[in-house]
Amino acid sequence: MSKARASLGRTAGVHIALIAYTLVALFPVFLTIVNSFKSRNAIFREPLALPTPETFSLIGYQTVLKQGDFIGYFQNSTIVTVVSIALVLLFGAMAAFALSEYRFRGNALMGLYLALGIMIPIRLGTVAILQGMVATGLVNTLTALILVYTAQGLPLAVFILSEFMRTVSDDLKNAGRIDGLSEYAIFFRLVLPLVRPAMATVAVFTMIPIWNDLWFPLILAPAETTKTVTLGSQIFIGQFVTNWNAVLSALSLAIFPVLILYVIFSRQLIRGITAGAVK
């Protein structure tokens, strides 16, 4: 009896601690979104209150949509992220297949070479990357960002995907070979569909740093037409520092897509981290 009560007390304590930290984690985001829907006076007078019919205001969003080309920024971010992920997945899966399927001279060395980029951040090569982009005329194009993010995402993609491809049964592939399928057909028609869950994990992992990156947009593509959401909101907020409605609305606009995607993919993401990361 006393033991049961003690464990009940312990469970309650755990819940209190977890709820407290959850509040710490969510409160800033909540505060930003709530206040973005309030009038300027209400933001300052009662920052913690929910918007009421009297204090509700969309003035911030109106300013943001009028002054900044947020739709354009979203478009840029989406193009860069989607194309980079597609390239990382395609090239990464191809390389992972070569490494996991065939024994050839230098296989292990090649794997090691491609894995270097997992630990060494691509940012350290920025000086020469910028020179290269200037030389090829790619500065202020989305192509420059796509190339950089593809290179950045490949090492981890190859690493994770080759681990998974080793688990695809050899009998299946050999049956395909006997049926006269080419190596390309085996890869695209037999192996790729089987590693789809791993591809989804890689896609989510690749997406977050690309969408959130500030460094490369700032250095390689700061032009108005190529700004990403992250850079766009950074500059916009910098200019409108004193317009709290606009700042809070811009922040909320930058949060919403991440929030929506997270609600959809959180299971996938968390399963990916907990299953694959610690090995």
């Binding site: 755990v14 601690a17 977890l18 709820i19 930290y21 959850t22 984690a25 969510l26 985001v29 505060l31 933001i43 300052f44 920052p47 395609l90 090239f91 191809m94 390389a95 297949f97 070569a98 490494l99 024994r103 050839f104 491609l114 630990m119 060494i120 951040p121 691509i122 350290l124 090569g125 920025t126 000086v127 020469a128 990357i129 020179q131 593809t150 290179a151 490949l154 080419s182 190596e183 890869f187 959130n212 990156d213 460094w215 992250t230 950074q234 907020i237 709290w244 700042v247 922040l251 930058a254 949060i255 997270y262 959180s266 993401l269 968390i270 981290i273 907990t274 299953a275 990361a277 610690v278």
Partner: protein
């Protein structure tokens, strides 16, 4: 490669024609990765040995490094950034790991209700960009808005409040804690996964021997999750030593107040790209990038060759 290995490949090469498809599979990844990542990295390292002397771009050996370490115009900034970067890292390790372990330990309690919800909620900040996180906290900690003093007042701690981000002696701590707040999800998840991987038999055996509660955590679980803590630490190390975005967003490129939050990433940006009156300097930028490369390389090697080898791994 050992001799027997070469022999088998030799035989297979005799049997099979040159397998073009391997090259086709490897080439796209190899080209993009080499051209955009590896070659620029090597080129950047090379440029750290070059500088413009009397209008001529020439090889100068280690003199860029000498300037960075000893020249009064550079050395103060550099050592300041390096010191701050180490403090930044130490605060991460000291705050993020214990909280991450505690959260993971609580989440891994069997049959805990709502644990999926807690996990999802606590991980959310990790997904937000530094720009969002930086500005949100800048607003919350701002004395103009007054959310932070208001909250502290409600628990009777209003005297504690100060414009932390604006004071040179607290700004670095405040920025580090913001970064910890954002990234706590990663240690939490990795350690949580490690805790889940401990087989039930081990825990049951411990319970049979009367090892429960706290002593069970310290004596059984903690040693088993050390590898995960090692991974978290090296990820944090690499992340911290090329951090830039958060400081740039919260404190600007000058990493104020009075350079008190300047770390290597912001120093690299200012040096290489230029800021306000300061012109961009490619060679010195490359030199700072080379130092960052060496620091990260040293950390990763230390982890791979010393920490990971020494760490006992338990096979179940």
């Amino acid at each position: 490669m050992n001799p027997s290995d070469t022999k088998t490949t030799d035989i297979s090469e005799i049997k099979r024609p040159w397998r073009w498809h391997i090259l086709v599979f490897l080439l796209p990844a190899l080209i993009v990765y080499t051209a955009v990542m590896i070659l620029p990295l090597i080129e950047t390292l090379r440029q750290s040995f070059y500088n413009t002397v009397e209008g001529q771009y020439t090889f100068v050996g280690l003199s860029n490094f000498n300037v960075l370490f000893g020249d009064p115009r550079w050395a103060a900034d550099f050592w300041n950034a390096l010191k701050n970067n180490f403090i930044f890292f130490l605060i991460h390790m000291a705050v993020q790991n214990p909280i991450g372990i505690a959260l993971a330990a609580m989440l891994s309690i069997p049959k805990l209700r709502f644990s999926a919800f807690y996990r999802t909620a606590i991980f959310l900040p990790t997904l937000l960009s530094f720009v969002i996180v930086g500005f949100i906290w800048k607003l919350i900690l701002s004395p103009i808005w007054g959310v932070a003093p208001f909250l502290l007042d409600s628990v009777g701690l209003k005297w504690l409040f100060a414009p932390w981000l604006g004071k040179p002696d607290t700004a670095l701590i405040a920025v580090s804690l913001i970064s910890v707040w954002q990234y706590i999800g990663i240690p939490m998840m990795l350690i949580y996964a490690a805790l889940l991987n401990i087989p039930d038999e081990v825990i049951e055996a411990a319970e049979c021997d009367g090892v429960t509660g706290w002593s069970q955590f310290w004596k059984i679980k903690l040693p088993l999750i050390l590898p995960a803590i090692g991974i978290v630490s090296i990820l944090t190390f690499v992340g911290n030593f090329n951090a830039f975005d958060l400081i740039y967003t919260v404190q600007g490129a000058l990493a104020g107040p009075d350079m008190s939050t300047d770390i290597l990433g912001t120093l690299l940006y200012r040096t290489f790209f230029g800021f306000q009156l300061q012109l961009g300097d490619r060679s010195m930028g490359a030199t700072i990038a080379a130092i960052m490369f060496l620091i990260i390389l040293a950390g990763v090697s230390l982890y791979l060759f010393v920490v990971q080898r020494r760490m006992r791994r338990y096979q179940f």
